[in-house]
Amino acid sequence: MAKRFSQRGLRLYSKKEPAASLDIIRPTNIRQVSIPIKTETGLNCELVVDFDTVVKPGQKLAAPLDGEGLCVYSSVAGVVTKTYESTHPVLGAVTYVIVECSTMDIPETIAPQEISLLTPEEICQLAESHSIIDELDGTPLYKKLRNMMEAHPSVVFADAIEDEAYQSSAWGTIYEDFFQVITGLRLIAQCAGTERYQIASAMPRHYWRHTKEHVDSKYLYLARPNFYPHDDLQHMEKEECRVGVQACRALFRAAAYDEPQIECLLTINGDAVSLPANVRVPVGTSLRLALEIVGGDPEALLVLGDNMKGVEISSVDVPIVPSMTCILCLKEKTLPNPTVCQYCGLCARVCHRHLMPFEIARRYENKQYSFLPALHPGDCDGCNACSFACPAHREVAEAVAGAKEESSINQIMWEVTPNGD
């Protein structure tokens, strides 16, 4: 309780509704998907099928050149037509392969296979061969599992703390497939060699009564709702034991259905969307189509990620990949002009790294760089809470980021030419 009062951060008004309580939407009118096979970070594959081949969902499209890394699987049933190169806001420069969809059948529900007792090494190979990507940071799951096997964390968390205002994709996954998530998480815990595994979530308690499957509360780690940034996340990072909820679900499906990760779930929310919802689409679906389904305005301000840490995306013709979990569609393209800082101290009150953002910004804007190292701008982790809280609408976080860069340059110079004082 005392910790709850001393915690520093913002109290946000939740905007997850109605997306959080609605069922997940699955589009059926997909014409083509563009699946990345070669990226700047990670993938480096060559096509293993010829053009004009008919492929099934889950069929291997491309395999890594040097034999190491993730394979690429087709996410829909259709015909492979061509490859092309483009840039992607998450992956950088990418080579895509286009699969033209033939039919979009709703997959039949098959009973899962009995998951046999797997050794940690087998679980790793399962994650690698089914090319599961952790949606939290876009790294392959098998690398995380290998790290866990070495680090032996005492507890493993499925991170569903969506501490920002709009995103609810992790909650949506749990809402529909709690059993799959918790079983996948059990496999991950087995791999890490621990008995303790929990789903960390900041959804209020009453939400948990309405999940489609019964939830045992011993699997839950309930964090403080509507609070940003969540300090528990940092604790988890230290132990290297956070995995995404969708990765857990994908691991279960790999074990039970022998199905690679070919779907991803993303929240489309914001005031320019007529029906905010969670949408489950095959990997490679164009964002334009996903926006059409929920009635989003493609001309509006599009944000990849949530309100606090997102980035603006300029084009809607972006293929959806597993590390995209939230898209915001906002009407407002302009903000009120910033006014003079009044030193009200709100930014210092919300800073969870215990910094003085207003002082750092003042020194930085006055170009008094020699004062910066004493103010520790390097501790900032870019949560943007100070900019959000500023009543004068100043971009405090941007100034702090500049100061961080400047002080690191200063430090390097000091290391090269140290002088007496």
Binding site: L301, L335, Y343, G345, E359, H376
Partner: protein, 325 residues
């Protein structure tokens, strides 16, 4: 308008109402009270003070080649605060002089809003207190209820609780009179209960820092408990000291000026304690019955250094904790 191209994209849910508006809303009931209690003179003083402040701000911004001449409501707040601590009998030129001094000398030469070193309202009051102590501290007798208009020049005067404390006279006011404001005093400063409600409102709106106001009031209370200036007991001493003069008013409106007070919580507590001690010392040994404005001005200088020192202290502690964890 600034383009919305980096995070955070939507800010509308936090701190939407600017601080000057909150302060003006909080001042409104005080003026209703004073008009009912004294007559129309407080409104005339208020208008004179606010118009002077705005005119001075406009002229200075014009001289400084700024496009936006009345940047925000801060000049209105300064004018309103100055008028609030005037006696209803004060001639009209006194608040005009105070506002002009506050804006033209204390605020604008340092760069205007957010850059001033001293609290403009407190320094305006300080100037007129030094120049015209008789005009500042002559209060109308509350027993004889006459409406004070613009043309009232010779109302019966009575000693305020602060001056009774100052001259060590026996206090003639009861505790409920003090709380309800039925005592001789300045326009907006006598009604302690209304001021208390204003403080709660501003706490809720996050315009006011509880750390600063409470530490200040507690220091004053402890000081008056230890060193009473009246013979009627120590508890009565606390009540008289806190409710007399514009100590309570100043603890809400002067002390909490965001620009001139520290921003760090620990620094705010230290600042409140220091100001409280200074106010009580000035009341005991000063030349005037009320020294709030001088105490605030003296402590304004220390706001920024206090911030830095206290932040360093706590940050080192926080870092050590993090390293240990």
């Amino acid at each position: 308008m600034a383009t919305n191209n980096h995070a955070p994209f939507s800010k509308e849910s936090y701190a939407t109402i600017p601080l000057p508006v909150n302060v003006l809303v909080a001042l409104f009931p005080l003026y209703v009270f004073s008009v009912v209690f004294f007559g129309t003179r407080p409104l005339i003083l208020l208008c004179a003070s606010v118009l002077t402040a705005m005119a001075c701000e406009g002229i200075s911004n014009w001289l400084m080649l700024r496009k936006n001449r009345f940047q925000d409501g801060t000049a209105i707040v300064t004018g309103a605060l100055i008028a609030s601590v005037m006696s209803p009998l004060t001639p009209i030129f006194v608040p005009i002089l105070a506002s002009a001094f506050a804006i033209l000398v204390v605020k604008m030469p340092f760069g205007g809003t957010g850059r001033n070193l001293f609290n403009p309202a407190a320094s305006g009051i300080a100037l007129t207190t030094v120049c015209f102590p008789n005009l500042m501290f002559m209060y109308p007798d509350n027993e004889i209820r006459v409406s004070i208009t613009a043309f009232t020049f010779d109302a019966t005067q009575a000693p305020s609780p602060a001056s009774e404390l100052f001259t060590h006279a026996k206090s003639s006011y009861l505790w409920y009179d003090l709380l309800l404001g039925d005592v001789p005093g300045a326009i907006g400063t006598t009604a302690i209960l209304i001021l208390f409600a204003c403080a709660v409102f501003l706490f809720a709106r996050r315009s006011l820092s509880p750390a600063l106001t409470l530490s200040f009031l507690v220091t004053c209370a402890v000081f008056s408990l230890l060193f009473p200036r009246t013979d009627e007991g120590r508890l009565q001493s606390i009540l008289l000291e806190l409710c007399s003069g514009y100590l309570f008013f100043g603890s809400i409106f002067f002390l909490n000026d965001p620009t001139t007070s520290p921003s760090h919580t620990l620094a705010r507590i230290v600042y409140g304690v220091m100001t409280g001690l200074l106010v009580m010392l000035l009341r005991h040994f000063g030349q005037f019955e009320e020294g709030m404005c001088f105490a605030v001005m003296l402590c304004n200088v220390l706001a920024s250094p206090l911030d830095r020192v206290c932040w360093k202290l706590l940050h080192h502690r926080h870092k050590r904790k993090e390293a240990a964890a």
